[in-house]
């Protein structure tokens, strides 16, 4: 093995440790340092993986889906190199590989599993030198001030999938997302589609936060025969005849059980199984289905898929449940309108009036533009909130949104400081036994976890930077 690389790796690790000592959070710092010294590092290190790599990307659900895949593979006894903390750009992925790499030339793991930021898919896919499989689950409007337009990402992905490096990768695509499904159009084989097949779940009309309503080929508006979530569903184009591809892996007879659990019948080419999930909401059914589809594409037995999904727990900061001074604190991450809608819809499934701690930050990782909260259906909370405490750098804006969404102003408290807000929200008289639902944006979630860790409510608060 090149001596040069060994030295660079040692240097990078040292720089990373230094950065942490200085108080920098960064699980990306060592990787960034390594890539500066050796731009080919991701390719070189991932080449050591005997089973190669798989990667996945989406607007929503990357970390949870990856967590589910990891759980499935653990039932197969396969050791993974996986960026489980969610650092999903080049630096984070390089750091993950660096941490697993052995100085003697091997690597501590058999298969690479990487969630990848949408803008980095092309770059990472080519650096991984022929990934075995690429899973693409959804494209929604995310932080507009970060990425401009959805079309740009879709075009980049289409371009990336025509590359030599990805031509032989198995594609695992969400049939229910017209933009994603269309990415498989040019492949004769090697594409596995997944989707939901449950008419009972169909929503009455296409939701406000929906994108991708026009045919990818001819521009005519799609006719949606069923809508499940955002713009995901069953569709066809009356203009050119394009239809949703038939999924080889599907979820039927879906059952959503409030904020606690869900279940569905998983149908694959290898058979069917009833799957239970300790995670709520249709969005997690989609995540589980995506994980199952990827596993299916890699010929993982159904029993391992079922067991893995059953045992999957909330990914870092998403739908986590903690105990806080005698009450349950549920952290439901909100990042963009579609994700927020699913969280709100799931919350609305729980009967009664809720205590909510909404934390709206506008740091770079959250998106500096907070107008997205007006695209999310906070109206689902109208009349369903006992007390809403608003915190974060844009607390006042969040409070305003709730007021216009139909939450009575007398039930809204504005307290920008997180620690004070948490104390107020959880210490309310008459709250014992009532869960507190925290709805934080990304950096707010990190701050919340850090605060809880300092107080001993959770074991550790890992922080990441993109």
């Amino acid at each position: 093995m090149a001596r040069g690389l060994a030295m660079k790796m040692a240097l990078a690790r040292g720089l990373g440790a230094l950065s942490r000592l200085r108080g920098g959070a960064g699980t990306s710092a060592p990787g960034k340092a390594l890539l500066r010294m050796d731009p080919e590092a991701i390719g070189e290190l991932s080449a050591r993986l005997p089973e190669g790599s798989v990667l996945l990307s989406a607007t929503n659900g990357k970390t949870t889906t990856a967590t589910m895949i990891a759980s499935i593979f653990s039932h197969e006894g396969l050791r993974l190199v996986h960026n489980r903390a969610g650092a999903n750009m080049a630096g984070g992925i390089a750091s993950t590989l660096l941490a697993a790499a052995r100085p003697g030339g091997g690597i501590d793991g058999e298969l690479g599993l990487f969630e990848v930021d949408e803008m980095w898919l092309a770059s990472i896919a080519s650096q991984l030198r022929r990934p075995r499989a690429i899973l693409l689950s959804n494209l929604f409007r995310d932080q507009l001030d970060r990425y401009g337009e959805l079309e740009t990402i879709a075009a980049r992905w289409a371009y990336a999938l025509r590359d030599d490096h990805t031509r032989e990768s198995a594609l695992v695509l969400n049939a229910d997302d017209p933009v994603i499904a269309d990415l498989g159009r040019e492949r004769a084989r090697g594409v596995l589609y997944f989707g939901i097949e449950d008419q009972g779940l169909s929503l009455p009309g296409i939701a406000h936060a929906a994108d991708a309503k026009h045919c990818r080929r001819c521009g005519a508006p799609y006719v949606f025969d069923a809508i499940y979530l955002g713009h995901l569903g069953h569709y066809h184009c009356p203009g050119c005849g394009q239809t949703r591809p038939h999924p080889q892996v599907s979820a039927e007879q879906v059952s959503l059980e409030g904020v606690r659990a869900s279940a569905f019948t998983l149908r694959t080419p290898a058979g069917s199984e009833r799957v239970t999930l300790a995670l709520p909401g249709l969005y997690n059914v989609y995540n589980a289905l995506a994980a199952a589809a990827l596993a299916s594409a890699l010929q993982v037995p159904l029993a391992s898929i079922r067991a893995g999904l059953r045992d999957a727990r909330a990914a870092f900061g998403r739908a986590e449940t903690l105990q806080l001074d005698g009450r349950e604190l549920r952290i439901l991450l909100v990042k963009n309108p579609v994700g927020a809608n699913e969280v709100l819809r799931t919350l609305a499934l729980e009967p009664g009036s809720h205590d909510v701690l909404a934390i709206l930050n506008d740091n770079i990782a959250d998106g500096r533009d907070v107008s997205w909260v007006w695209d999310a259906d906070f109206e689902l909370l109208a009349g369903r909130v006992r007390r809403a405490t608003c915190a974060g750098t844009r607390a006042a804006e969040m409070a305003l949104r709730l007021k216009y969404a139909g939450v009575e102003p007398r039930r809204i408290v504005v307290q920008p400081d997180l620690a004070t807000a948490l104390a107020r929200a959880s210490g309310d008289a008459g709250t014992s036994g009532r869960p507190l639902y925290a709805l934080p944006t990304y950096t707010a979630m990190l701050s919340l976890r850090e605060l809880l860790a300092r107080r001993g409510h959770i074991a550790s608060a890992m922080s990441t930077e993109g």
Binding site: R141, L144, D145, G148, E149, L150, E151, H208, K213, H214, G219, D362, R368, D369, V370, S371, W372, V373, W374, D375, T393, R394, A395, A396, E397, A399, L400, R401, K403, Y404, P409, I412, V414
Partner: protein, 243 residues
């Protein structure tokens, strides 16, 4: 109130603007009816007090531009001539001008505002923004022009023609083109601006101004509302814009 292309030009939380107008009318017992006019629909210039055009992705904007000229331009010009409010945000603003030049092709606008939008090399103009609105349009408060604060995100640079009046002077942010120091444009009661945020939730004074103007009232004639949260949010927007 009539929203044009609500399913195509709504990419930027425009819904928040319409919601604020609706609520603030309802809370005062003022009747509010929202209708929409999409691709292929005609527009009745006399039937609405306010016409709203939001922002969209390039592809959708092109579609709407064609349709605007084909089915709605005449009605909008008539509305403009009759001093009805026409409010265009971002993409909508661009379409109210003469043209929008994208890479390789130029979209023709309705021409209610004497502005032209072009793309130039360089980054998108993104960030928090605040500007003073021309007192000719919205008067003053405590002797000073009133301020709109929000967020901009546009690749287009809009140039004011000789006959154009800017909507306001930039305090912080890029405005129309990142250079001129002007933001938006207006002519009579046709108003265009790049301000998202959305515009009206962060600046409810302007929502009330629109409502009063639409009804032919003085703002003071509108019943006051308990606006503590609104004032906090506006102050927050100003703060984050650095004003």
């Amino acid at each position: 109130m009539c929203a044009l292309y609500p399913d195509l030009l709504n990419i930027y939380a425009d819904r928040g603007n319409l919601l604020v107008l609706e609520r603030r009318c309802r809370w005062r017992g003022i009747g509010f009816e929202a209708s929409s006019s999409g691709l292929g629909d005609r527009l009745d210039p006399g039937a609405h007090d306010l016409f709203y055009i939001g922002g969209g992705q390039d592809r959708d904007q092109e579609l709407c531009a064609e349709d605007l000229l084909a089915t709605k331009a005449r009605a909008l010009r008539e509305a403009h001539a009759n001093e009805r409010l026409v409010l265009g945000i971002c993409g909508g603003y661009q379409l109210l001008g003469h043209s929008y030049a994208l890479a390789g092709e130029t979209i023709e606008g309705v021409g209610l505002l004497d502005v032209r939008t072009v793309r130039e090399p360089g980054p998108r103009l993104i960030g928090n923004v605040a500007f003073e609105v021309s007192p000719t349009l919205t008067g003053t408060e405590d002797g000073r022009p009133r301020v709109l604060a929000g967020f901009e995100n546009h690749g287009g640079r809009t140039r004011l023609g000789a006959g154009a009046t800017p909507l306001g002077r930039v305090l912080r942010g890029h405005g129309n083109d990142g250079r001129s120091g002007w933001e938006g444009a207006f002519s009579g009661h046709t108003i265009g601006t790049y301000l998202h945020g959305p515009l009206l939730p962060k600046n409810t004074w302007f929502a009330d101004w629109l409502i009063a103007t639409a009804l032919g009232l003085d703002e003071h004639e509108l019943a006051p509302l308990p606006d503590e949260l609104e004032r906090d949010a506006h102050a927050g927007a100003l703060r984050v814009a650095g004003v």
